[in-house]
Amino acid sequence: MCGIAGFASPALNEAAPEVMTSMLSLIHHRGPDEAGYYLDDGVAMGTVRLAIVDLATGSQPMPDPARRFWICFNGELYNHIELRDELKRLGRPFRTNSDTEVVLQAWIQWGPGCLARFNGAFAFAIRDAEAGELFLARDRYGKRPLFYVDRPGEFLFASELKAFRAIPGFRYELDARELASTFAVWTPLPESSVFQGVRQLPMGSYLAVRGDRREVRTYEPLAVDSVPFDGSEADAIDYVRESLRRSVELRLRSDVEVGVYLSGGLDSSIVSRLATQLSPHEVRTFSVSFEDKEFDESSHQKLVAEHLGTKHSALKIAGADIAGNFPAAVHHAEAPAFRTAFVPMFLLSEHVRDAGIKTILSGEGADEAFLGYSLFRETMLRESWGELSDEQRLERVGGLNPELAHFGAAHRKHLVGLFEQFATERLPGLFSHELRFQNGRFASRLLKDRSDPFADILALVRDTPGYAALSATQKAQWLEYKTLLAGYLLSTQGERMGLAHSVENRCPFLDPDVVRAARAVNLRFDDGFDEKLMLKKAFRAELPERSVTRPKQPYRAPGSATFKEQRPEYLELLLSEGELAKIDPIDPVFARKLVNKIMGTPSAQVSTKEDQAFVFLLSTAVLHHQFVLGETATPEAVLNLRTTADHRRDSARVGGIR
C-alpha cells in the first residue's frame, strides 16, 4: 500500500524534483517507509511506500530490466504469486519478490489486458519512456483512489487531491454542481470530486496520456447480473464458504502481520473466523466502542472475540473524540460527509497502527454483495407493494430499519403512507434509491444553485449499457457499488481513514469470485425478508448464535448532537455569518435557518435528514477552510527518498537509480 503522484507538464520540467518532493510530502502518511520518484522530459511520477510485500527489494519507482517501462504502484495484487508463475513460464524476467514487479511485467506482457487478470486493490501509473506515454489504472471496485487534473498543457495525478497543492499556481475551488450532486446522492459520483477541475479515474478503468491525447477506457464494467446458482442449497452454501475462504487466504498474503476490524456484525465476524483458521499467527482484532449506548456494539464484539479466541482490542469513542478529530478526518476524506462515522475509523486506524499493525482485513462490501442493507428489502417491498394486503404492508414496513426508533411498532402504520408514495418510479432508473435520495433533496437546499441535483446520476444510469434491463434490486445493487461503496465506505471511511495513519485495509468481500458467488446464490435463494440469508447459513455453525440471528445494526456514530454539546472552536465556521458567506456555493440564508434549528432544538427532535444536512454543511465548511482558503498548514514531511531516477535531457543531473 502506498500513495502515488505525478504530472505531465513541460512547464514544470525544470522544477520537477522540488515539485515531486512536495507532492509526495503531502501524501506522506500513505507510505512513510520510503519514497522515490522518476523524472523524464516534462513527465514525473513518484511513490510514497508502505512496505508490506517484499520489504527488501520492492522499492519504487521500479523499472523493467530494459528501463523502458517504469511503475509507481499503490495497492496490493493478491494473486501475484499465481501471475508471477504464469509470467515466468512466458519468459518474463523477475529481479524482486514484489507484487509491483508482477504488475509491471504483466503490463509489458499483456498490455491493458492484464487488468482483467488482477485480483487486487490498486491504482498505478506506468511510464513508457520509448513511446512517451503515461498509463494510469484503477481496480475494479474503486478501492484505491486516483484523482487527476487535465488542463491545457498540464496533466496532474495523485492518490489524494491534496497533493495538487504542490503545483505552482494550483487553486482549489468548490464546484457548485458537483457539490449539489454530492449532497443529493451522499457521495461524489464515480468520476467526480467536489473541487473544480479535479476528476477521478472511475473504477475498472485506465487512462492513457500522450502529449495532448487522452484515452479513458473501461476494462471491466461493474456486473450485477448473473445466472442463478444451478445446484442444491447445500452446494450453494459450500460455494459461498469456499469463495470466501480463498479470498481471506489471498488477503492474508503479507510479509507483515495482518489484523482484523471486528465490528460485532456478521460480516466482520465471518472474516475474523476465517482469519483465525487461516492465519499463521494468533489473530488480533480491533473495534470501536461508543460511550453513547445507542451506538455501542461492544458486547457483540466481545462475544465474537471470545468465541473465536482472538486477541481483541476496543477503542472507546466519546463525543469529544468525534468533535475534536472531525477537521483532521475531513482533511483526509477530501469530500463532504453526511455522517460522522468516518471519524471513529480515523481514530481506530491510529489505534491499530500504535499496536504495530499496518494491514487489516475488514467486512466492507458484504452488504452490497449479499443484499444486506434495508434498502434492498425496501426496494423489494415497494416493487411488490401493489400485490400486498394492508396487513402484509404493515408487517413488512415494521421489519425495516429496526434500529431507528420511528420505524418501531408504534409508528409503523404511519410509515405505510410514506412507502405508498414511493411505490412508483419517478426518477427514471433510480426507483430503488428515491426514498433515500429525498433526504438529499433537503441537503441540496443548502446551495444557491437550485438546478436539478440528480441530473448527473440520471445521466450516469441512462448512459450505462445494460442498466435499464436490470431488475429493481439489481439496479439498487449497482448503484450501491458505484456510489456509496466506492465513494464513501471504501474511500472516505475505509481507505482514506486507514491510510491517514498508514494502515492498509483489505476487503475479502470485494474479491471478484466472492461477488460472483453472491450474485448467483442471491438470485436463487434470496427470499426478500432475511438479509444475507446464504451468508448466515454458510457460517451459522461457526459463530455465536446471537451474532447470526440478531437484527442488522448499521455502523453509526453520534451526529449533530456531538457538535452542539462539544461546541468545538471550528463550529464558528457555521455560526458566524461572515464565515458562511465566504463559501460561495452555499446559500447563507437557508444554511442559517438549518443551523439555528439544530442549535435550538432538542437533539431527539432533529430528524435524520436535518442531521445529515448539518454534517454535510459542517464538513463542507471545513473543506472550504482547509483547501479553498488554505488555512490548514500541512507540515512538510521528511521523506526517506531511496529511489530517484532523472532522465531529463536538459538536466545537469546524472540519470539512474540512487
Binding site: 402504520k413 404511519h414 410509515l415 410514506l418 408514495q421 437546499r445 435557518k593 435528514k609
Partner: protein, 83 residues
C-alpha cells in the same frame, strides 16, 4: 389561529420551508423532499395532539397525506366525524 394556518405553520417551522416560495399547498411534500420518515411521524403526532384526533390504521391506509391541501382536508373530515 385557523386550522389550515396552524398546519401550515407547523410544516414551515418544522421542515424549514415556506409555502409560496419553496413549495405550494398542492405540492407532494414527500416528493419535494420536505418530509422524510422521521418528519412524517412528527407530523402525524402533531395532528393527533393539536386537533385531538385518533388516526387509525384505516385512515392511513385509505388516505394519502402528501400535500398541505390533502393533510388539511383529512383533518377537516376527521373533525367533522368526531363532532
Amino acid at each position: 389561529m385557523e386550522r389550515t394556518q396552524q398546519i401550515k405553520q407547523f410544516i414551515e417551522e418544522q421542515f424549514l420551508v415556506e409555502f409560496g416560495t419553496d413549495v405550494t399547498a398542492q405540492d407532494d411534500l414527500f416528493k419535494t423532499g420536505v418530509i422524510d420518515s422521521f418528519g412524517y411521524i412528527q407530523l402525524m403526532k402533531f395532528l393527533e395532539e393539536e386537533f385531538a384526533l385518533q388516526i387509525d390504521d384505516e385512515d392511513i391506509l385509505t388516505n394519502v397525506l402528501v400535500s398541505l391541501e390533502a393533510i388539511d382536508g383529512f383533518v377537516a373530515s376527521k373533525l367533522v366525524g368526531t363532532r
